[in-house]
């Protein structure tokens, strides 16, 4: 892994997010538009692309785009797939397998509700997971029930409170207020969160992410090639992934510790950074508990202390550890797999393009994705020319 540090850079990004939560386009047309915009952002053309990351069938997507890639990654592990795509593409470029890789994601679950089921998006789950027959009878509500069980255990083991979890939703909303495309921008309080409808205890409605349309893409290339392109390169300083179960929470070794405790330190070690160096944490927030677990597993605080760590508002605007500056899955957008948006926001912050929510000269950002039900974690450490 020593060869990964700053071998590659993200040179282009694109994103489609709407304050209505709905997009006009969908499916392949939306995905193709994201790729076109990300390539334009980079100053590259589709003919430059020789690698493709796509959590559907990448060869089918390549055919649709009319490209003939020599690197394909179809990793589909849920929301963190896009962090894994960056990791795999960076390794492939570093090894000389290819030079310019695009990754893309689009989903429109919100507007699909209004369409006939025959028209719903292209990504469908395949065969049911292996343990499902033994768990179906018990009515675990997916996906929230799995996260609720984790939160239950965290509260029992460490005394974490509903109010501490709520603070994460409150601070994330404060960031969303600064993002013109965020779905929800009105301020909320801890009382609003704990007073919102209980869904699956201990998680309330406002502990949960949104359901919106959304799409994005990234372009990754070698650091040598990146030097000549349109935008300041955002270097991949480190990347790692780890998985400790699939879909059954009974197989997760410890419901209070995710595989991020493996992927995080590994990615940080490759990057040669510590948590103290991190100026922005983009930490996948499917639920408030998800983000809290990242704070602990990545080492920003000790195991069990995430609630107290978050409680003083340090994750919000003006705080010492800005987290999810776009407004996160909780308040900005969440089309089902949110990991692409972690990358896009991290890149925009590092390039200084984040408008009212722009941090003061960030140099290290971490995009940490969670896929499945706290199952597969992907950590990407990104940096600027100054931290290359």
């Amino acid at each position: 892994m020593t060869g990964l540090r700053a071998a590659t850079a993200i040179v282009g990004v694109a994103e489609a997010v709407s304050p209505t939560g709905e997009l006009d386009q969908r499916g392949l047309a939306l995905e193709a538009r994201m790729i076109r915009e990300a390539l334009a952002d980079a100053g590259l053309a589709i003919d430059d692309v020789d690698g493709l990351c796509y959590g559907g069938n990448p060869s089918g997507m390549a055919e649709f785009l009319g490209i003939h890639p020599r690197f394909l990654d179809g990793t589909a592990v849920g929301g963190s797939s896009y962090e894994l795509h960056v990791e795999h593409a960076a390794a492939a470029i570093a090894a000389g397998l290819c030079e310019v890789v695009v990754g893309v994601y689009a989903a429109t679950p919100r507007s699909d509700r209004k369409r006939s089921s025959a028209n719903s998006g292209p990504r469908r789950f395949g065969a049911p997971p292996p343990g499902m027959a033994w768990e179906m009878p018990y009515g675990l509500r997916g996906p929230i029930g799995s996260y609720a069980l984790s939160a239950s255990r965290h509260m029992a083991e460490y005394g974490t409170t509903a109010e501490q979890l709520a603070q994460i939703a409150v601070d994330t909303r404060r960031w969303a207020a600064l993002n013109p495309v965020a779905r929800h921008r009105d301020p909320i309080t801890i009382d609003d969160v704990v007073g919102s409808a209980m869904q699956a205890s201990p998680l309330h409605l406002l502990d949960c992410c949104l359901v919106t349309d959304g799409a994005g893409a990234f372009v990754l290339t070698s650091s040598a090639r990146a030097a000549d392109l349109a935008r300041p390169p955002v270097y991949v300083l480190g990347a790692a992934s780890a998985s400790d179960h699939g879909s059954s929470m009974t197989q997760m070794p410890d419901l209070t510790t995710t595989a991020g405790a493996v992927s995080g330190p590994a990615a940080f070690a490759t990057a040669g950074v510590t948590t103290a160096d991190v100026d922005l944490l983009m930490g996948y927030d499917s639920f408030t508990i998800t983000a809290l677990l990242h704070l602990e597993d990545l080492g920003f605080c000790a195991k069990g202390e995430g609630g107290e760590f978050a409680a003083d508002g340090k994750l919000g605007p003006g705080g010492s550890l800005p987290m999810n500056t776009n407004g996160g899955g909780l308040s900005c957008t969440h089309p089902g797999q949110y990991g692409m948006f972690l990358i896009v926001e991290a890149v925009r912050q590092l390039r200084g393009e984040a408008g009212d929510r722009q941090l003061d000269g960030p140099e290290i950002a971490v995009a940490h994705g969670s896929g499945g039900v706290l199952s597969t974690m992907g950590t990407v450490v990104l940096g600027t020319e100054a931290t290359r």
């Binding site: 018990y138 255990r153 699956a200 009974t250």
Partner: protein, 132 residues
């Protein structure tokens, strides 16, 4: 309470024993240890030298969520009900429901024992209830 039915495969002994009020766990003869959920190979060593052994039938609530809106397989008006992960002394964890008390009274660490719910096809589905 309406429960969806497991689609049975090579798990006939499990349901036969369940009919007699005995919770069987899949057992790896190589590891000499239980595992959960049932599958054709041991998730520790990949051996297919497997059998079944009776569990003690006791456990402890490891995590619990009271579902105020039902999950897949439940009626829309079902609930609230307690979905829990129970740790068994045989060193496995099972997803289950806790019955026999108010859902909100189920807490992590609570001692529980196996209870049974009859499915529409007559099979007995294991649940758990507070130990007396």
């Amino acid at each position: 309470m309406k429960l969806m039915e497991p689609d049975g495969g090579e798990d006939e002994p499990f349901w036969t024993a369940a009919g007699d009020g005995v919770l069987l766990l899949p057992w790896c003869n190589e590891c000499d240890a239980a595992f959960w959920y049932p599958r054709p190979v041991c998730p520790r060593c990949l051996s297919d030298d497997l059998g079944w052994q009776a569990a003690r039938g006791t456990g402890e609530v490891y995590a619990v969520s009271v579902h105020h809106r039902p999950g897949m397989g439940r009626d829309a008006d079902d609930g609230p009900y307690a979905v829990a992960i129970v740790s068994l002394p045989e060193d496995v964890r099972m997803l289950t429901n806790i019955i026999g008390c108010e859902p909100d009274d189920v807490v992590v660490g609570m001692a529980v024992q196996v209870a049974w719910h009859e499915l529409s096809d007559g099979r007995q589905l294991p649940l758990f209830e507070p130990s007396p």
